[in-house]
Symmetry: C3
Subunit: 262 residues, 3 copies
């Protein structure tokens, strides 16, 4: 009998994990707000106090959406500190495959022991070496998302999430196929980044556990499904998504969750 | 017989241009989202992979809203790459005239071959040398916006847009006067930046064509007119603007468009 | 007989102060928009033209939310310029007490003559040396917020604001206790930063006057109270807060204001 996702959600809300972020300046505000709505306490710092802040955090989210040499150096400090303090960190390799620089930085951070690697199917395909098509920061598809996810998890030891219309999660042994969500998520910038922040809350509160990661993805996607009914388009969808995540109740979550072993 | 604006809109939506941005950190999220709602795919990068990203983009938007020496250097790389790869780029000289540094950077980027220069009437007046009053990042008016726009277009070879209650667009030969829009746009930070992103989508999909630029400005302003009826103030106007742009239909656009030769 | 808060609000709206900001990249867009809704004109610059921009501004807001060595250097230039040009500046010491770097930078900027220091109760307690508990950027409480506020005001000569469920404001001689607001403010990232921007508008228009600061805090909190009735959660609360502040009328403000001498 699996632990229902609602119990992970309760654990997050009950412990209010401090989630450190070094993320891009495009979607950072949405990451902070979704983190609060998921039950976490976000803190963003990429300056001289990164190591000190990561040390007191429950988890760290490293997102390369608008990377530059200064922020990459800060991410390396964050990753090293996380490793040495046993703080789980998540890598979101935004745009890996679109430029050589992004692929290279992703590989470097990937070698530093992330608990979770979360990308779109194209990015995960590129990093797994199984083939992925990335243009700008959008995935244009991958050869076989389930296989890429499992291959990258096996190679890195991380829990790997490939998001898309269907989401795959693998720890190298078990691979899950999750099918909640809505196409509206594609119409808003940064929904992938927001999902990373939610996963950050869950690994901060529950540890690097494949079911905690699956709960995070499902919580986000179910909130998105509910938000569609309370909006008139992409502009009003985003605040509706925040509202839905904040007020999501456990019974609704468990009743709507759709996942299976892949 | 002019091509109706709706046909430009269809071309943008059908081709989903990749629009590179180096823009300010104040309004960057709104730029990304309005770009999606206009039919484009936004990508923001100002780090080591600027040249590589611009090379694969359909257009580039350079906005100096929160410039510093690092980002200005990146904008120069973007402009050079755009020039050499025949990628049209737009310059938004935010705050030119408010400080000497902004005026100087604007002039430097202006000399690098922008396809479009889009500012408020004060900024365009300053850059045209015909007189403009800029305080902070707001225009306090200009001597004669139509004349400034035409003069700057003639001097630079760019298509120039001076936004305001009435918008002027000139390629140095033809000057257009557009009168859609709403005063509510003044109550939201970054509506000028968002307009630049929408123009970026249109020149990315349709090339540097004065009618494509006029279509972009009209699409944005008509969406703003429609959004006013779906909001309770500046806060709810912004998401309503996104919604309206995303769902705008061609017949409504063509019926509401108000423009003439100046 | 005290001047009613509505008269301060009229003065801000009538003069449209230019409010310079160096703030964090997480909540900067909300700061810009709340500043407009409060009646000010925001300008954000932290690059080579800081001194020139501060010189023409009515006030400056320095917020260390995502500090790094480059932006701290810019804040020092802003503070020096503000001092020499008699432009009042506000310091928001975000996360002071959470890391040594933040505490140290806060103390340095605090010694440069801020007109106002605005933090949460934990941050003010840390800087006053009376004890405060700060985790990430959230206050976990302070020994005695009223006493901390007064002590820090006396030591620095600034007007000090400690925000929380109840807000305290002191100029070292008089200490006020303000009790408007709503718990919903805790569910949105950056409401403390937004409050700082609103205070920036008021000191820009009215000077560094304890009653002007109290008016700013009350205007913001009353708008928040009104917004709660127009939202479905934290996501829709933020735009509703902008709307409510923009349309707040003086009679409502004065009727709802709740404050007393502490």
């Amino acid at each position: 009998m699996e632990t229902p996702f609602s119990q992970y959600m309760e654990r997050v809300r009950g412990s209010r994990p401090l989630v450190h972020h070094i993320t891009n300046y495009v979607t950072v505000n949405d990451c902070a707000n979704i983190c609060i709505c998921a039950g976490g306490s976000p803190v963003m710092t990429d300056g001289e106090d990164v190591a000190e802040m990561v040390s007191i955090s429950s988890s760290s989210v490293l997102n390369i959406g608008t990377l530059n040499s200064r922020t990459v150096a800060s991410m390396e400090v964050a990753a090293e500190t996380a490793e040495s303090k046993a703080v789980p960190f998540l890598l979101d390799p935004v745009g890996a495959g679109a430029t050589g620089y992004r692929t290279e930085v992703s590989e470097r951070l990937m070698s530093m022991g992330p608990a979770v690697i979360k990308g779109n199917a194209g990015e995960i395909g590129v990093l797994a070496g199984t083939g992925g098509d990335v243009k700008g920061v959008d995935s244009r598809g991958a050869t076989d998302a389930a296989a890429s996810t499992e291959a990258l998890a096996r190679r890195t030891g991380a829990i790997v999430v490939a998001s898309g219309e269907v989401d795959y999660i693998s720890d190298g042994k078990v691979t899950l196929r999750l099918s909640n969500g809505t196409g509206m998520l594609e119409n808003v910038s940064g929904t992938g980044c927001m999902l990373s922040s939610v996963v950050g809350c869950y690994i901060g509160a529950c540890g690097a556990d494949i079911m905690a990661v699956a709960a995070a993805v499902t919580v986000f996607n179910v909130a998105a499904e509910l938000a569609v009914g309370n909006c008139r388009g992409p502009g009003t969808f985003k605040p509706a998504l925040m509202d839905a995540l904040h007020s999501l109740d456990g019974d609704t979550l468990d009743a709507r969750a759709r996942w299976e072993r892949a």
